[in-house]
């Protein structure tokens, strides 16, 4: 097989693609949910609650499932985490609540907290129930920048208290990474948008699309026009490999590939026959697994360190491997090799040369002289994102390259708050929700609430 630049859409028929991108982890049946809920011990000072960044009262919501009080169960979840439905789908529960579950200590089989949370929140959303009522309007106005999980959680918390919220979103759709940055089979059936509809039903929230901070709007102007500002602007910068010819055809940022998979029909998304994904996080897993599911023949993730250092969870790594994705550790790309496909003029990637890596005596990662080459029609770069502070106009103090905030998620400016991936801390949806929730509570207090 010497074809060069074999990147094509429609490698599988639409029925196969539909199956490959359907809900990867379908919800439990009502009977399964009750059986599982009855396993819960209803712990005192439950370790799972402490492990949840949003502090959902997990034993309480599970007991309510067991007793058939699904409305109460969903209310318990959503009171602590308005995005409880998407967190039930995307949270690394095996590292959070389910790792802390006492059943993990007892017999290594935690309560399936994520699945139960989905059961309760789906029950409520499927019935179109609005569990919260907005307080009387206060006349206070808050600008939220970014309609991702942090911004949405903040907006909902503020709207609940009667404040008016305007969300400014750079993209044409709300949801942030829930809409653009997560594998399709994790949030199947347009769940992100359905959940946003549910959140916005509280009232008092308007979203203006195509408004990017630093281009269409400025922090200065927002501070003048609004009583407070919340920034949930994520991380706009994508790290580069630092290799020559990195813009050649066949190379792509994994997050763009993932975003396209969420927005375009699957049979229109092009994928290489042989794909190499570089990186060790969940983005690498999502890109590689979805490449396989689009019909790529051969997909390899290459990570410069070992499995323990991968930020992708053990479950995510196993999921990729179940999908026949190969994961190679301890190798870093050193050279992109190109060729010219017959009948074309431009160079396209044909393979990547890697250097085997190791740790030196000082604990630093070093390249060795050992090399190997992986053939690739497509190279997906998933080595991380970073915060780009320039849209802020140098007005806010930073910490570790992101916006510095206190416990209330207040920045160095008294009327400006921030949360989600643009502030220091784990880059998790559930953490972003907690940021937005904490900021909303603090802003409400600042307004005298």
């Amino acid at each position: 097989m010497t074809e060069i630049g074999d990147i094509a859409a429609g490698r599988l028929d639409t029925a196969q693609l539909a199956a490959h991108f359907a809900d990867a982890h379908p919800p439990p049946s009502p009977a399964q949910a009750v059986v599982e809920a009855n396993r819960c011990y209803f712990c005192f000072d439950a370790p799972c609650v402490e492990a949840c960044p949003t502090g959902i009262d997990i034993p309480a919501f599970i007991r309510k499932i067991a007793t058939g009080n699904l409305l109460g169960s969903a209310q318990t979840i959503l009171t602590a985490n308005i995005l409880g439905g998407s967190c039930a789908r995307v949270c690394p529960t095996e590292e959070l609540c389910e790792r802390a579950c006492v059943h993990t200590a007892q017999e290594g089989k935690p309560i399936q907290i994520g699945a139960l949370q989905r059961h309760a929140t789906d029950w409520l959303m499927d019935r179109g129930i609005a569990p919260f009522t907005r307080a009387e309007p206060t006349g206070r106005r808050v600008a939220v920048v970014g309609a991702g999980p942090a911004g949405l959680a903040c907006a909902h918390g503020l709207a609940l208290h009667g404040h008016d919220v305007t969300i400014f979103e750079a993209k044409p759709k709300p949801g942030g990474l829930n809409e653009y940055g997560i594998a399709a089979y994790k949030v199947a059936d347009d769940y992100a948008q359905r959940e946003i509809g549910f959140i916005l039903a509280i009232g008092g929230i308007t979203i203006e699309y195509g408004k990017a901070l630093g281009c269409d709007i400025t922090l200065d102007a927002l501070r003048q026009d609004f009583d407070a500002v919340f920034l949930g602007i994520g991380q706009a910068g994508v790290r580069a490999l630092g290799l020559e010819n990195e813009t050649m055809a066949g190379l792509r940022d994994a997050i763009d590939f993932i975003a396209e998979l969420r927005q375009a029909p699957k049979d229109r998304v092009a994928v290489g026959r042989r794909v190499v994904v570089i990186g060790g996080g969940n983005t690498a897993i999502d890109a590689a697994t979805q490449a396989r599911r689009l019909g790529a023949e051969d997909v390899t993730i290459v990570y410069r360190r070992g499995p323990e250092q991968m930020t992708a969870t053990d479950d995510e790594q196993a999921w990729a491997q179940t999908n026949n994705v190969r994961i190679r550790h301890w190798a870093a790309p050193v050279r992109l090799i190109s060729g010219v496909a017959p009948g074309t003029q431009h160079a396209t990637v044909t393979s990547v040369e890697f250097a085997r890596t190791t740790i030196d005596a000082a604990g630093r990662l070093i390249l060795t002289d050992a090399r190997f080459v992986l053939a690739a029609d497509m190279v997906l770069k998933a080595i991380g994102q970073h915060f780009r502070p320039d849209p802020l106009g140098a007005m806010l103090a930073l910490q570790d390259g992101r916006i510095a905030v206190d416990d209330d998620r207040r920045t160095s400016l008294p009327d400006v708050y921030a949360g989600g991936d643009c502030v220091p801390g784990p880059d998790l949806t559930v953490v972003a929700v907690q940021d937005g929730k904490r900021a909303a509570a603090a802003i409400h207090r600042q307004f005298g609430g």
Binding site: N38, Y41, F44, D45, A46, P47, V102, A105, Q106
Partner: protein, 423 residues
């Protein structure tokens, strides 16, 4: 290998496991399946006079507890609804086909001597091993002055038992209702009437639940409900107590134990408290007759482990330790001990004690890690934490050496009625 053969009131069986008089023993078809599965005996579902009674549709109610089905079970079914002669013919054939098994026949007819005399003659003709007088059915038949309507009046129990002993040479077992204040009264009455043994408990009057949409008690019959008879695992403690009371007070009266027996362990407990045979219904209705296989070898294996060779060596062995509260040692003291290496940090020991009991388990954080510790000065040794803890062996109740001699309430200085020690 332990010998499980039993002779109960003169009735021999290869093992102590009988099926109780109930739906599983209503027909030859079912009984033959039971015997093939290994059951030692049956008590045929209660026969009455023709014309047969009529049963309703919707007959059972069940309690599901935390996902466990039929933790409790109730029925509003009456006695057999088949013609008397059909049952008699089948009984005769079954006994002929299975001569080594115990075949008893449950009976319930109106409270006249002629009625009992007549049916006893017909039943004796089947060649069965004995009869069981149904003085226990707490629903339906009791409204017709039969079943528990008889069992709740000791004088009637004695009278009918005496009639039966006069009119048959078969062993007569009297089945007792638990729906009485003092089980010893009908048991003693049966003994006075000449009963060869008693069996208990029959079912407990109950409403298993309420259909909150129909606003009707369950099981619901066309929008209405009536009280039923409760049985299954939930009633076992009630049955054990009644069996033990009789075994203690009337030691020469054979007792066939009934009530929530589902496993060999349940059976061993009934036998230890005095039962010479055990009768099973709900567990078989829930899971089929095959459960007897484990009952048989489970009991035999346990007996082998304890070096008991016969059922008689086990029977009643715990009765001597079943005493009145006033005979308990007030100087016995235990304290909970938590094996920290087994603790999974569920906190159930703490919260039960803290909210509802003696504040004797502290919830600590040591460097952020949960730790639950017994406060020995506060622990009264109640067992609550030990019972609530989901990890076997994590909490144990440890005897404390107080140095004080055993003392009962009869001897205790706080007892105003204590018997003065002889000077």
């Amino acid at each position: 290998m332990a010998d499980l053969r039993t002779s109960f009131a003169g009735i021999a069986a290869p093992n102590p496991f009988w099926l109780a008089s109930a739906p599983p023993t209503d027909k030859a078809y079912n009984v033959a399946r039971a015997f093939r599965a290994g059951w030692g005996g049956v008590v045929w579902k209660t026969l009455g006079e023709d014309p047969p009674i009529v049963n309703v549709s919707s007959r059972y109610g069940g309690i599901s507890y935390n996902g466990t089905r039929i933790a409790g079970f109730s029925n509003i079914e009456l006695i057999t609804d088949r013609p008397l002669q059909v049952n008699l013919d089948e009984i005769k054939q079954v006994k002929r086909d299975w001569p080594d098994r115990a075949v008893l026949v449950s009976l319930m007819v109106p409270c006249t001597e002629e009625s009992w005399q007549r049916i006893l003659a017909q039943v004796e003709d089947t060649g069965c091993d004995g009869v069981e007088l149904n003085f226990g059915c707490p629903h339906g038949m009791s409204e017709r002055n039969m079943g528990s309507a008889v069992g709740q009046v000791p004088e009637y129990v004695e009278m009918v038992t005496r009639w039966c002993k006069q009119h048959t040479r078969m062993p007569v077992i009297v089945k007792l209702t638990p729906n009485v204040t003092d089980i010893l009264a009908p048991a003693a009455a049966a003994q006075r009437g000449g009963a060869d043994g008693v069996s208990l408990i029959n079912t407990v009057q109950s409403i298993t639940g309420v259909d909150l949409d129909l606003m009707a008690p369950e099981p619901v019959v066309d929008g209405l409900g009536t009280h039923g008879g409760y049985c299954g695992p939930a009633v076992k403690p009630i049955a054990l107590r009644m069996v033990a009371d009789i075994a203690r007070a009337l030691p020469r009266l054979p007792v066939s134990g009934i009530g929530g027996i589902s496993t060999w362990r349940d059976a061993a407990e009934f036998i230890a408290l005095g039962a010479g045979s055990v009768q099973v219904c709900t567990a078989a209705m829930h899971r089929g007759f095959k459960i007897v296989e484990d009952m048989i070898d489970g009991l035999a294996n346990w007996m082998d482990g304890k070096a008991y060779r016969t059922i008689d060596q086990v029977r009643g062995r715990a009765v001597r330790n079943y005493v009145h509260w006033n005979d308990l040692n007030l100087n016995y003291k235990t304290i909970a001990r938590i094996d920290q290496s087994l603790c999974i940090k569920c906190g159930l020991c703490h919260i039960g004690c803290e909210d509802t009991s003696h504040q004797a388990i502290a919830a600590l954080r040591i460097d952020g890690t949960r730790r639950y510790e017994v406060i020995e000065a506060e622990c009264v040794g109640c067992n609550l934490c030990y019972l609530a803890c989901p990890v076997d062996g994590c909490i144990t109740m440890v005897r404390q050496e107080t140095g004080d001699a055993a003392m009962t309430w009869e001897q205790h200085p706080n007892n105003p009625l204590r018997k003065e020690q002889a000077a």
